[in-house]
Amino acid sequence: MKRNGLLGITVMLAAAVLVGCGSGNSAGSSSSGKVTLSFASWDTKQAVGLRKMADKFEKDNPNIKIKMETTPWDQYWTKMEAATTGGKMPDVVTMHSNESYKYMSNDMLMSLEDMAKKGDIKFSNYNSGVTKLYMYKGKHYAVPKDVTNIGLWYNKTLFDQAGVKYPDGTWTWETFAENAKKLTNAAKGVYGFAAATAPETGYYNFIYQNDGQIWSMNEKKSHYNDKNTVGALQFYQDLMLKDKVSPSAQVLEQTDQINLFESGKVAMIMAGNWGAEELASNEYTAKNADVAPLPKGKKQATVTNGLAWGISAKTTHPKEAQKFLKFLASKEANTMQSDLGVSIPAYEGLGQGWTDKYKKTFAHIESFNEQLKYGVLRPFNANTIKCETLSNEQVGKMMSGKQTAQETADTVAKGIDKILAGKE
């Protein structure tokens, strides 16, 4: 009898521990019939505007509550994968082309074909490049949120001091390098440009301007050692090592180019339109900075990319999530996104609100809208992160003078071919 009692306690304790581990699984529906949807994104600056959009949706749909989950970029994907593996992916998620392929090809995102058929989403409304980033085997998996591209941000004060004319759409690589030299004053620690080992906000732009290739979406082969790519890498390396118009690679590794720009240490940086919010909220750059189209190589080009919104394939509230996504895809929501200055919507023709919002601070902010016509999509495939990590490691070596542009291109090309063949 006594022994049985003991065993009973043991079993109960064990059960309590196990139950404890498994709890917290209940979905977000409360007893009052209200449904709560989780909505994941990473940019804290954008989250302010996104919240206002969610408020509008809540007002129109009193039975649905939107819970925003903002996680910094560095942890966003780690957390997202863990949550998805554990069956707790947020209901509505923000996707990036680096990761979207993995989620689409593993059936973790809900196909949006039904919504398109019903007319809830009209994919022809959005920037076609960004739309393509979120398609897998001919099916749509996410609604394009915004479209980004890279501009040449410059410090007007440093230009005035050096007596250099502000950059405009007419600059070529030669004008760019020449003026960068004039702006450099190494003794004072001021440089013309920050040649950071950054792909999207750095060397990819030069590769595209030189008509070079990085890797293609459909082929099992990279074209990284194309002679035009090598030429662009060479130009980029020369900016730092030959012309010496950029802080050294070791300095750039420790201090982000935006920070250097904000403290008046570099006269020009390449940064995306998503940087406008940060540069406008910084007192120094709000007063001293403006933006111009990127210089022209063999042709004009800028790297474009775009985020998108998708629904978890395993959401417990598919109807409500679709309703919210329909709202996010609407002209109304995207006009809000633009007017609130969140970003340039991928919904075509709504960029003016975004431009107007920043126009007072940065006189030539419309450069970003103008550049869209010659934007080139950021390279994307099933292994984007692996390919890009490899590229960054090798370009980093090149920028610190450890290898030539040709050697860099050959190593990366060989490595990417191996990755695409599934060997690494």
Binding site: R3, C21, K102, N106, Q250, V251, K265, I385, E393, G396
Partner: protein, 299 residues
Amino acid sequence: MHHQRRIGKYRVNEIIWGYLFILPTAVGLIVLNIKPAIDTIYMSFNKSAGFGRMTWTGLDNYKRLMADPEVWQSLLNTLKYSVIAVPLIVVFSLIVAVLMNQKIKGLSVYRTLYFLPVVAAPAAVAMIWKWLFNSNYGLINQMLGNFGIKPINWLSDPDIAIYTVIIVGVWSAIGYNMVLLIAGLQDIPNDYYESAEIDGAGPIRQFFTITLPLVTPTLFFVVVTTVIGAFQVFDSIFMMVQQNTDAMYKTQSLAYLFYKYSFILNDKGYGSAIVVLLLGIILIITAIQLKLQKKWVYY
């Protein structure tokens, strides 16, 4: 007969209670440590496709690991870190512990100061150090500048970064080991020192003939845990050194490489193989230490 059965019943009862008391810890260990460890070993024989899905690939990951120069460089970095950091940590901890074991004014203030790094979150500590070591704006380079020393790229020079990480590692490990060693020192009876003093032994002689031998059991524990900790170094590297750079290549430990493959590149199978290699190395070194303890530890 009757008597014996009663003892048996008593024994059974005792055994059940025994198991009952270790149950919470045992369940915790199994669920949180042992099960994941077994999963990791299993995963190291697979290629992962994300979201926990994987396909069996046998020894492929280990073959790739053998031929991967990045793995060997990371192993070299880990060994370099351990060989330099462990002796520094042990020696400094012991010196500080001996000093903190004196009867001086404000002792608890000093003890608190030395223990503070242990209480602070490692990530926060690394962030502060990162700023101190910044080559442009960092306090350390500013101070060195006063003596006419040119700015040093503490965290981005591939030849220097690992030593910077070691400095931070040593700094943050001293406090914890100091507390352990103080406890060990206070177990040494005062009589020995009194007789030594009467015999005319000075403080240095006393330290080497009494303190050091008698503190060896604690010292052994400190050495074993410090070695394991050094081989697993991760957070300071992750927080302070920029990823995908040459400096990282020459600094990253096996634990960091595991993180890179598992969580940045999403190659959990290969990442697991790397961490199994690390586990093997730590097991061997700890086994050697347990064997060698007979030669220098006085119980």
